[in-house]
Symmetry: C2
Subunit: 496 residues, 2 copies
Amino acid sequence: MLKDFEMKKPENKEALSGQIKELCSTLLGQQQQLVGAGLPVMVLIEGWAAAGKGSLIKELISEIDPRFYNVVSPQVLPESETRYPFLYPYFQALPVNGKVTFLDSGWMENAVQKYLRHEITKDEYRRRIRQVNEFERQLRDGGYLVVKIFLHISKKEQFSRLQDLAEAPSTEWRVTKDDVWQHKEYKRFTEEYDDFMKRTQGVFPWTILDGSRRKTAVRDALKLLVDTIEKGVHAGRFCGDPFEEEFSMKKIPHLSEVDLSPSIDEEEYRQELKRLQTRLTELHNILYRRKIPVILCYEGWDAAGKGGNIRRVAYPLDPRGFDVHPIASPLPPERARHYLWRFWTRLPRTGHIAIFDRTWYGRVMVERLEGFCSEKDWQRAYNEINEFERMLTDWGAVVLKFWIHIDQDTQLARFTERQNTPEKQWKITDEDWRNREKWAQYEVAVDEMLQRTCTKNAPWHIIESNDKKYARIKTLKIIVKALEKACENHFRQITS
Amino acid sequence: MLKDFEMKKPENKEALSGQIKELCSTLLGQQQQLVGAGLPVMVLIEGWAAAGKGSLIKELISEIDPRFYNVVSPQVLPESETRYPFLYPYFQALPVNGKVTFLDSGWMENAVQKYLRHEITKDEYRRRIRQVNEFERQLRDGGYLVVKIFLHISKKEQFSRLQDLAEAPSTEWRVTKDDVWQHKEYKRFTEEYDDFMKRTQGVFPWTILDGSRRKTAVRDALKLLVDTIEKGVHAGRFCGDPFEEEFSMKKIPHLSEVDLSPSIDEEEYRQELKRLQTRLTELHNILYRRKIPVILCYEGWDAAGKGGNIRRVAYPLDPRGFDVHPIASPLPPERARHYLWRFWTRLPRTGHIAIFDRTWYGRVMVERLEGFCSEKDWQRAYNEINEFERMLTDWGAVVLKFWIHIDQDTQLARFTERQNTPEKQWKITDEDWRNREKWAQYEVAVDEMLQRTCTKNAPWHIIESNDKKYARIKTLKIIVKALEKACENHFRQITS
């Protein structure tokens, strides 16, 4: 901990230089091993203002091939932090397998600073600590190596460094108000940094380095990195065990219990469609102004009518405020990262709506059944997804998930019709027929998914879609009701 | 032109609805043809505030599968416009082959608005018009279809629409100061819009639609889109002819004329390296504050020493302010777009430095020699690249291009050494040996590239690298000198 950290004694300079040189050359040799083992590495450098985080990173990368790393600094993501969930910039910064990302301050600085400034409540602060632990565990279980360093300097040392910077005309601009404020509040920062580190030691440990001995710090950071990689490469890519946390669940039937007969007549459909779409336009307006983000997730059988359903929902929305994300099989840069990465990077900004046409649930359906991931991977995913969605709803998002449901006969009829209609033929592929043969296996997977991820905060809705029009109206009703409730809650919150 | 545009007469509503329905279904059928032909489509919707651009887009996309389009609105790119070149957001928004991007106002609004607000000078405005014409031609020549629509309403109609919006509490916020200002300046806007359209008619023509007749506008826009796609699909992917514009060129020798003997002794190397790196750190500081962007381009023979050279340049830079972009063969989403797209999207923000380890010149070297693009494509590229780099230097960027040069014997010696050193073996591949066999062909291509793209604004520098240390010092000297000049020019500009 910072409070009782013992600053380092000076060491022989030449010996230090020699050790650094040796470690650099080891690191250089490790690059290929990392690639070979497919291991991604995240190096988080936190620390005091003027502790030398930038220079430390500079030394660490000086000998590495630029193809093997990238440096991410918070300045590059100024907007992200306010219009996206807390962890968004860090998920976005995840390296691909075989590469290293250096993070020039990150989730710790972000949380502690905002808390001490009273920009977030104590409750929110605690929530962020929990999210950090979930995030780090997800990274570890997904095979990531994470090195967490805190670069420490005393209050006295910070004073003299800030003073030096402020006195030279060419560096004066580097001393920000935040830096001065941190210096004034050095003691409180010490306490909160310590508290944060204590509470986030569980998955990847923190290492405090003495920033007032630059060379020593470089040597120690290099050693830490080299040791971590060596251990990681030796142990092979880690894959975490499944486990189950407590989430507040909502009851949902099994697919076989669902009555698929409901239908709607043409006249009622038209009236309801118009009424609900008009209402949705109004609600989108309100959500936009109040900056409430909305995430709509569509899953369902092939030919269940997802596309048409999505179009009816999207039609009344202002195109400037929503995106539809069709999710196909992952591209190489997506496959080479944590499986949730491509969804994190597609999250809507506050006030916007994101509609996912297929989702992260691919992990527990197609990836499970086709063996695209290991059993541990998909078993673990239920919990990871529940955590992910809780991060979204904690952020203030409305998350609704729809299973567009039909029976096998209806699917066959629709497949046949597509086959026989020239302009619809592109919609039907051999894969669809192959998937159809696995209906029973899919049903098991879908049922398990619905049961294990129907949380109160991000519930599933089964949409009977043998009659597509009935399905559209039902979906729209659920969306309208949920958005009305969200607006009401939001208003209650700001007035309480 | 807007000045003499005749507003439309009302049409029979049912007939209109019928036509819209029919056009929608044609458009639906065209989706697959677009994919088949690999044609990307950009639909630019410009127009007056409150003319109904958003609703028009809504109608156009209402029947299209979300997998085939995306909507880009300027609100999503607030930062881009100030910290990146003028065309950056539009290049970024380019669709992949087979897809449609709807742009909710774009390069016209951006340029005209800024000009009328005196945020850019008349000179800069004219430059932007030239850039737009170059941009549109590059798109056309690269196989893009572009539809440009201006949605027109009269001053009276705008007044009543803005009033309606302002009076309802739920839509009041939609009327911005900019809208009110535009309304007041309706006449000047008319003139400038007309002027802009007249000057940018050359490549893709403008179509003015009457925004006060919503359904008519939807029908006409759909018709335009459907006709454009039909013609495009019928004609097949367009590939523009090469041509040559005038650029101010700088003299550069042929590779065979270069004396590769220069070298440097160890002691001088050390001193110079230290001096130049220290100076570079200072300059980076200044550039960062003055927001001058820098783009360093590295090309050269395999094993010429690019990597080590880049490391010596990057070392003194603050890692928060630069990125190294290693350029390998393009990924699928990159290959499916204009070849410059992946470089546009990697441009540095103002004040930042981007180092490209291989560049857009791949087009006229490896892509030319390996037949990855047509002869017309690479022949055209010299000019396109000169235009691209002029856009960068017009924006205020320092652009320096280095050809790291060695002779064949030196390459052979280095290849052999890599082959024989275990930790360097990954650096040498069969492809390197194959490329080596094509040395003579490459030399022809490189010479042509150097001669045709060594512009005064973005010059090439041949770096003799048989002695790597000499090469590093020479590169650093060129960079330091260019950056010093840029700082001086910048200071002269702001004080004049």
